[in-house]
Symmetry: C2
Subunit: 298 residues, 2 copies
């Protein structure tokens, strides 16, 4: 046998050349660019470590298990991307924001569509009986400091046991989620529970990877936000509780912490009308003041 299509494939580099040559026929230039780079790096990895057949099969099993662990309320491949730092690399490549604009961080695997629209001052934590109330208020601004009216804040977080609704029994029910809109002065008032640190799900392939690499699974306490307004780039981000010792003890399992997103949670031992910003909170609570700054489109 001979001929261009069936060369004497005697080395692994011949295989790499042949794969790259066939991918050259990809019609879409961006798909071609991505596939050529993917195959180049994937083959280089296999060659660098001289991957054995047994290790290859372990990899096949790991990826298969990861896919099979996904369902309507769990996304194990996003969790894998997060824990390998890939999500944050994508985030940082895509969001070079000018100083002063709110920084982004990981989206995570727990966002769900369909959160209820709530009025400012209404609680999204009505099912979380054990949590300390938290009032997170502030404005959405453009980079010049002008308030943006009618901006949408899609907010979600784990409950005070460190579990998202998708991890609870009866997981079809949406909990600890709400959509808030800024008023004419760009103001919002989110009422929720004070977030707690939690471990990401460890009962799947990602947990096996973390155990094999001797890594901890904790995420420091945070609340998730996607803040969007017409004419501005939406920002996917968190606010972290500066008082959480896990910020320093071992870091974030998904590498999501940025200094500008770590904010003080002020503690109030009793009713404090000024801090409550009109929300109905009785007894001890915490408050956060934070202004989100969005970058105009284009």
């Amino acid at each position: 046998m001979s001929g261009a299509t069936t060369p004497a494939q005697t080395t692994e580099d011949d295989i790499t050349s042949e794969v790259l040559q066939r991918i050259q026929g990809t019609p879409d230039p961006r798909t071609r660019e991505i596939m050529l780079s993917l195959v180049t790096h994937l083959h280089a990895f296999v060659k660098d470590v001289r991957l054995t057949e047994a290790e290859w099969f372990e990899g096949i099993t790991f990826l298969t298990d990861t896919g099979q662990k996904c369902n309507s309320v769990r996304q194990e491949f996003i969790l894998l991307s997060d824990t390998l730092g890939v999500s944050m690399v994508v985030d940082l490549i895509g969001h070079r924001r000018p100083a002063g604009v709110t920084e982004s961080t990981v989206f995570g695997p727990f966002h769900r569509d369909g959160a209820p629209e709530l009025a400012n001052g209404e609680s999204m934590a009505t099912t979380d009986f054990n949590g300390t109330r938290a009032v997170i208020s502030g404005r959405v601004l453009n980079p010049s400091g002008t308030p943006i009216a009618n901006a949408l804040l899609d907010v979600w977080q784990a409950n005070s046991d460190g579990l998202y609704d998708a991890q609870l029994p009866n997981h079809d029910t949406l909990r600890m989620r709400g959509k808030y809109r800024t008023d004419k002065d760009g103001r919002f008032v989110v009422v929720t529970s004070r977030p707690v640190a939690y471990e990401i799900p460890k009962d799947g392939p990602v947990g096996r990877m973390l155990a094999a690499t001797n890594r901890q699974a904790w995420r420091p306490a945070h609340v998730h936000f996607v803040v969007a307004a017409d004419g501005y780039e939406p920002v996917t981000t968190h606010l972290f509780d500066a008082a959480d010792p896990r910020l320093k003890a071992g870091g974030d399992a998904v590498f999501g912490v940025k200094e500008s997103l770590v904010v003080p949670f002020r503690e109030h031992v009793a009713a404090d009308t000024a801090a409550a910003k009109g929300a109905k909170v009785n007894g001890p609570f915490v408050s956060v003041e934070y202004d989100f700054v969005l970058k105009p489109v284009g």
Copy 2:
């Protein structure tokens, strides 16, 4: 915020450094080596192509779909590895055989345990009514040419419609599979159907990838073998039908062809006792003579 565990992660390279630093704590040295290389190449790929969030999400969806397509009779991640050339790179790294020893090729996603043990000359294609009979005979030898008695040949292939048993209705039934043992002279006689070229399964994520890269899905006609004997390295390989025009027209979708595995299938228009090697074949059939040469362990 400051400190080693929560640096001001302002660039994607900071993330890569932080991930690599955490993986340094992996207790098993080989796992550490593999994980460090994997993260390095994975991050380099994302940075090289400046992967967007939308493209990242497309990748997450692709990998999830690939995992969910796997079941007891289908292994879409092996098919993905095969079609990206990864399986052949692993094969070539792992099997540097001296000249004269039978070369290996892809295992593929269609092997199944539990094939029936058949006597030499017995047919493994009794359910394949439309196929041309094929008698594949020869010896299993050591590199000096000494026959190896009681070697095991685990043989499987697609039927004459180009489908494996796992792709047929009632796919729990094993078909087109057999285990043969060499006699005291190292001889075997496999009776099967002449293999046909077929397209690998295109109804899943791998099919989407092949379509996006404008690649064909054909594999040239072949029979699968795993040949094993005590004291020798087993070989996972194919025999390809040299007469198949698909060997030259577009090549093998999984890059498995090696010159030494392409063999002539002799055509016999009527009964030919010498070529049949004692097997009961009536009318037209094809015959192949091939000696497998195994490398001693160590």
